[in-house]
């Protein structure tokens, strides 16, 4: 097992390098660079730019040099923990991510908890009472949840909330709390705001989890080991959770690690609609404006988190399923 983990960690090194190269190339691929789009923006506002300023900007960011030189410059500083400087926000990239990470993480974690707390029991209920009224109802709700884009739900949610309560549920804090120091009052304000985004972000995931749990459990319930356990006198409740549920939940465990990058990033469209200070809108901005350090850094971090998440999932699966453990 230890050897397996070490081997997997070793394999992650070349993959990480590959991700960094591909990420860097893709960001560099569109014609022009940040300076040219920056100038275009200024010119559109009627400003006149002096050529000396342009050259000094280019030199400062090393934009004139060949791409591999730029890559190595970036990689070496990335490894040292210097993620570079964001040109649109005029702030170090580390600061931007640090500001947004807590709210990204809080919203995503909360919605994840909602997904599991709502999805798993409903999935179990749907499977054990297959073709009952409850099962049919949750199936309809589930399909709606999967099929409706989350940003649309966000819009509908905003509208409904405004219509019923008159509040505009934009952002994580009320305007007057925005700049207040974090304390009990601000926390209460946060609790009042965060549930809507958490619920909306979690809808599709919940619906999907209901379907997955239902299908997995329906596969396991008629298996012979369940009948055998029943024939041994095992209680009906234990018959459900000790045996089939243990196995039905494996696919959920094996994908839970993939959620790690999602936790950090947050969802783009919902964040935009609800004005949430998550990392996703920043990534979108940086890509659109070719803010290369910011974009590449975020992509790198998400890439590494994906790798780590996958490894975590595989380790978890090996812990819960002896069949996997025997094979590694």
């Amino acid at each position: 097992m230890l050897i397996y983990i070490l081997r997997r960690l070793l394999v992650m090194i070349p993959v990480t390098i590959l991700i960094s190269i591909i990420g860097f190339i893709i960001i560099q691929a569109p014609p022009g660079d940040f300076v040219s789009s920056y100038i275009a923006g200024l010119e559109a506002q009627g400003d006149i730019i002096e050529p000396e300023l342009i050259d000094s900007l280019r030199a400062r960011y090393g934009l004139g040099e060949p791409i591999y030189v730029q890559y190595f410059k970036w990689v070496s500083s990335f490894i040292e923990g210097d993620l570079g400087y964001s040109m649109i926000y005029r702030e170090p990239v580390v600061d931007i991510i640090a500001q947004r990470l807590p709210s990204s993480f809080t919203i995503s974690l909360l919605s994840l908890i909602l997904v599991f707390v709502i999805g798993i029991p409903i999935g179990i209920l749907s499977a054990t009472k297959q073709y009952s009224l409850a099962d049919y109802s949750f199936t309809v709700v589930g399909f709606l949840g999967v099929a409706t884009p989350n940003f649309l739900l966000a819009l509908v949610g905003l509208w409904l909330l405004f219509k019923w309560t008159g509040t505009v549920a934009i952002g994580l804090y009320s305007p007057e709390m925005q700049n207040a120091p974090f304390g009990l009052a601000k926390f209460i304000d946060l609790v009042g705001h965060i549930w809507l985004p958490a619920l909306i972000v979690g809808t599709a995931g919940t619906a999907e989890l209901i379907r997955t749990m239902r299908a997995n459990l329906l596969d396991e319930l008629p298996k012979q080991y369940v009948t055998v356990a029943r024939a041994r006198g095992v209680k009906p409740t234990k018959l459900l959770y000790k045996y089939p549920l243990r196995i039905a939940i494996n696919p959920v465990i094996s994908t839970v690690g993939w959620l790690l990058p999602v936790l950090v990033e947050g969802e783009v469209l919902v964040s935009l609609v609800l004005g949430l200070p998550t990392i996703a809108p920043v990534l979108l901005d940086s890509l659109m404006q070719q803010d290369m350090f910011l974009a590449t850094s975020i992509i790198m971090i998400l890439g590494i988190l994906t790798l780590v998440g996958t490894l975590l999932s595989d380790i978890l699966l090996a812990i819960v399923d002896p069949r996997i453990r025997g094979a590694v």
């Binding site: 008629p222 298996k223 012979q224 080991y225 009948t227 055998v228 356990a229 029943r230 024939a231 041994r232 006198g233 095992v234 209680k235 009906p236 000790k242 045996y243 243990r246 196995i247 819960v320 399923d321 002896p322 069949r323 025997g326």
Partner: protein
């Protein structure tokens, strides 16, 4: 005083059927188990009766779909969701009580206490009889602790003892193994150990030799015989393999389409088969005689379960079909010798029709 217990309340007024359990351990009377689906009703078991005494080995044989497995599932009340016992009694002599298993709550306390403790079952596929994510020992110990008030350590020791008794090579190690680590023969033994972990009075073996090759099959039969001699439990052996019946059992019941067609001692049924179906079954076994001997399969195919034949269920395939009788009336059981009964108009029952 023998009492019949239904749903926890004792009923003093005994029906006529409770008379003469006659020292039987289990008495199945006119059992009817039907399956309900959108396509219709399948009468998987349609009026089957038999008794088994303590320590006796009874064989139930027939083609696939004849209702033999459903009979065993009915006894333990582990039928699939759409299966229901619609009639009959399954009387079980439990200490000084007679319990009608057919009317008890399927997952209630009474049945749960009997399952695994007094009546245990061996299944066809040992690989899938154990949960793949729990060790063999986990499940044996669980069974022991459901039915006996013993500590974990004591249950553990009992489990090892049982694994040793069924011939596992290294019980102390095998107890912590998963089924996918065991060979086919070992899995069979582990499964036997699982079902015997509480030393049941009755063991139902549902096609235990079907999914394994002949050498393991032979080991399995030997093991069952040894264990039976050792622990003295009664066995119901369910199989389509008449060789297994001949080798292991005392008495045999032949079933066809949910009905009993013939029963008697193995000696009677194999050497003096009466029912045309039994004769057909015996004639279709390949012989080991030198030279080529044609095997004679039974004509025709098993009818569609949703469209059962009228009268005697076998009349569509019967070489001795009596027109005007067999397709109109169900033959009653007729005794042809002491303890040897046949349900066929060739041996009587027509007088009652006139």
């Amino acid at each position: 005083m023998t009492e019949i217990q239904r749903g926890g309340t004792a009923i003093d007024e005994l029906g006529p059927s409770t008379e003469g359990m006659d020292g039987s351990l289990l008495s199945v009377r006119d059992l009817q188990t039907h399956f309900f689906s959108r396509e219709g009703v399948v009468k998987a078991v349609d009026g089957v009766s038999f008794d088994i005494k303590p320590g006796e080995i009874l064989g139930i044989a027939g083609e696939s779909g004849c209702g033999k497995s459903v009979t065993s599932q009915s006894i333990l009340r582990i039928l699939p969701k759409n299966g229901k016992i619609v009639g009959g009694e399954i009387l079980f002599q439990n200490e000084d009580q007679i319990i009608d298993l057919a009317t008890e709550d399927a997952d209630g306390r009474v049945l749960r206490n009997i399952r695994g403790k007094d009546i245990a079952m061996i299944f066809q596929e040992p690989m899938s009889a154990f949960s793949p994510v729990h060790t063999v020992g986990d499940q044996i110990i669980e069974t022991i602790r459901i039915h006996q008030e013993v500590s974990k350590e004591e249950a553990h020791d009992q489990a090892i003892e049982m694994l040793r008794r069924v011939g596992m090579p290294n019980p102390a190690r095998n107890i912590d193994e998963y089924t996918f680590n065991l060979s086919g023969g070992m899995r069979q033994r582990a499964m036997v150990a699982l079902s015997l972990s509480c030393r049941p009075k009755l063991l139902i073996a549902d096609e235990p030799t079907t999914a394994v090759d002949v050498t393991i099959q032979a080991q399995m039969l030997e093991l069952l015989r040894d264990i039976q001699a050792d622990l003295g439990m009664a066995i119901i052996m369910i199989t389509h393999d008449l060789g297994v019946i001949a080798e292991l059992t005392d008495r045999v019941m032949i079933m066809y389409l949910g009905k009993e067609v013939e029963h008697g001692t193995v000696e009677d049924v194999f050497h003096r088969p009466q029912h045309p179906y039994t004769r057909g079954l015996l004639a279709s076994i390949p012989k080991m005689d030198p030279g080529r001997v044609e095997i004679e399969p039974i004509e025709g195919v098993v009818p569609n379960p949703y469209a059962m034949p009228s009268g005697c269920k076998f009349h569509t395939r019967c070489p001795d079909f009596i027109e005007g009788v067999c397709e109109r009336h169900e033959p009653p059981l007729t005794a042809v010798a002491r303890g040897h009964e046949v349900s066929c108009f060739l041996y009587g029952g027509r007088e009652a029709l006139e």
